[in-house]
């Protein structure tokens, strides 16, 4: 039977998609604007149906460490929070990257710094793609721009995380988390059996069997020569991900003289800006990075010869703009437009900024 179309919030879609993917455990702590994730999971009570654990931890720090424990056993485990809570999780995220543990983390961003506001923001871009926690590590980062992608990226996030034994993050914000749209949820998959997990994750600490030595999951390595080897292995893995897993969308780029570069909710706003601009005869297109790391560097480099200028539109003071500038390496002007602290720009505001910053008469 074809799955029905539902109307729901982005946060709700994450929760339903997690149950349907066959996730083994969710560990979280409520914070606006993402509390619907745990709310919907608690109401759906999947422990009665699929056996999925849903647990409200005593803090964000506990939640991420519960995720570490579950992931060490090869389980599909996840957590979600919003900016201040994600800051608390950074130690755990760095440890998981160091221990090469796959998991899914959802950040429904709000305006910072500090406790900030509860309104939408994209100011955690740097935190997510440049580190956040300590050490040389990378997070596979997916940026959904619709409720449908919120649902779809749960599966994509887990698939990539397990393919590369690396934490993955869905980086979204209060707009996509709180808005309701139509969504087609994925089909139900049953949770994996322990045998299937042992087969898929031979590294998992599920109990030693007679035919192998003990599995050890740790990020600690006191010998620096060995630690350098570990780091080289991580870096080699990151290069493969950068080569194979870049995802993006190109919108009306064929004849574009100017390029908008935006992700998530900002990209939705820019869709309307493109329409308004083209009504005025300004040829604008957009590149929407879907993976923020790995970043579509090569693609943007290719556009540097084709357009007169690029404008990144972000709900922050200018973060992704740095990656776009690195990609085009000075070949074409790259400007930034953003609103701060929870204010969401409107499509015509972006159009005004585009005209001003690109000097379009």
């Amino acid at each position: 039977m074809a799955e029905a179309i539902s109307l729901m919030k982005g946060n709700d879609a994450i929760a339903h998609a997690a149950i349907r993917y066959g996730v083994d455990g969710y560990f979280g702590y409520p914070i606006t604007p993402q509390s619907e994730v745990i709310e919907v999971l608690m109401e759906a009570a999947p422990w009665k149906t699929t056996g999925m654990v849903v647990l409200q931890a005593e803090s964000e720090v506990s939640a991420i460490n519960m995720v570490y424990g579950g992931a060490a056993c090869g389980k599909y485990v996840m957590t979600s929070s919003s900016s201040p809570g994600i800051s608390l999780k950074q130690e755990g995220i760095s440890y998981m990257a160091g221990a090469e543990l796959p998991c899914l983390i959802v950040n429904v961003q709000r305006g910072g710094p500090g406790l900030g506001t509860i309104q939408p923001s994209q100011a955690d871009y740097f935190q997510t793609v440049k580190g956040g926690g300590h050490g040389d590590y990378k997070l596979i980062t997916l940026a959904p721009n619709s409720v449908q992608e919120m649902a779809d990226f749960v599966a994509l996030g887990f698939d990539l995380a397990f393919k590369y034994r690396n934490p993955a993050m869905i980086l979204t914000d209060g707009v996509i988390g709180q808005m309701m749209e139509k969504v087609k949820l994925p089909e139900y998959r049953r949770r994996r059996t322990e045998g299937e997990i042992r087969e898929q994750c031979p590294w998992a600490t599920l109990g030693k069997t007679a035919d192998r030595g003990p599995n050890i999951i740790t990020s600690l390595e006191l010998g620096s020569a060995e630690m350098e080897e570990n780091n080289k292995r991580f870096q080699a893995k990151y290069r493969v991900i950068e080569e194979k897993e870049v995802r993006y969308e190109e919108i009306q780029c064929d004849d574009a003289e100017y390029l908008l570069v935006a992700f998530g909710s900002a990209a939705r706003i820019c869709l309307k800006t493109i329409q308004l601009a083209r009504e005025e005869g300004i040829k604008v297109g957009m590149v929407r990075p879907i993976t923020l790391w790995p970043f579509p560097t090569k693609l943007l480099h290719g556009y540097a010869d084709k357009v007169k200028g690029m404008l990144t539109v972000e709900l922050n003071a200018g973060q992704m703009v740095e990656d776009v500038r690195l990609a085009v390496n000075g070949k074409v002007p790259v400007e930034h437009y953003g609103r701060l602290g929870g204010i969401v720009p409107t499509p015509d505001e972006v159009l005004e900024a585009l005209k001003k910053k690109m000097d379009i008469k």
């Binding site: 109307l7 139509k182 409107t346």
Partner: protein, 188 residues
């Protein structure tokens, strides 16, 4: 078809749920819909608002600064959104909460006295459904049948007993607009 709508009023007036029912109704008609609330602390007594878009085409930005239709249910909402109705667009207000006249001359203005009417119906909670009825009489963007389906979909099952009362309120809202329109065309 593209309808870009903002509904704004005090928290507790049923602004967000009215938007939700509209969005559900649009979905019942196989339209594309989006519902984006101001989800801030204003829900607790300040002004709450929600942007609802109903369209034949995929929806681009869920965030807008100009609207085809603004439904304003208190004075701060009128102040905030009157200037943001597209020329030729529609502004619907409830007379109870509004202290000044609408200034714009280039938009169509309708009054639905839903607060008074819900008091007469002895049920303050159907206030938002009276407003919704008024809206649907002015712009029949979704059929009553699909509104009722949408209402059923958006209400938890334990509240389905309230459906007939809500339908009555929607019909009453439609009548109010009908009477207003008759009053307009018939010179006194």
């Amino acid at each position: 078809m593209l309808q870009e709508i903002v509904i704004s009023g005090f928290g507790g007036q049923g602004v967000l749920s009215m938007g939700k029912i509209l969005a559900y109704s649009g979905m019942m008609e196989d339209k594309e819909v989006s519902w984006f609330p101001a989800y801030g602390p204003e829900q607790r007594g300040g002004t709450a608002n929600v942007t609802v878009i109903i369209s034949d085409e995929p929806i681009s930005s869920p965030v807008l600064n100009q609207y085809d239709i603004a439904i304003v249910l208190n004075q701060p909402s009128l102040d905030k959104f009157e200037g943001r109705v597209k020329p030729g667009g529609i502004l619907i207000y409830d007379g109870y909460g509004i202290r000044r006249k609408v200034k714009r001359g280039d938009i169509n203005v309708y009054r639905v006295n839903a607060m008074d009417e819900s008091t007469k119906m002895d049920n303050a909670r159907v206030f938002n459904m009276i407003v919704l009825g008024g809206l649907l009489k002015i712009v029949p963007m979704v059929s009553l049948e699909n509104v009722m389906k949408g209402l059923k979909e958006s209400l938890p099952e334990r509240h389905h007993g309230l459906l007939p009362m809500n339908e009555k309120a929607i019909l009453r809202g439609m009548e109010i607009i009908e009477q207003e329109q008759k009053a307009k065309v018939t010179p006194a």
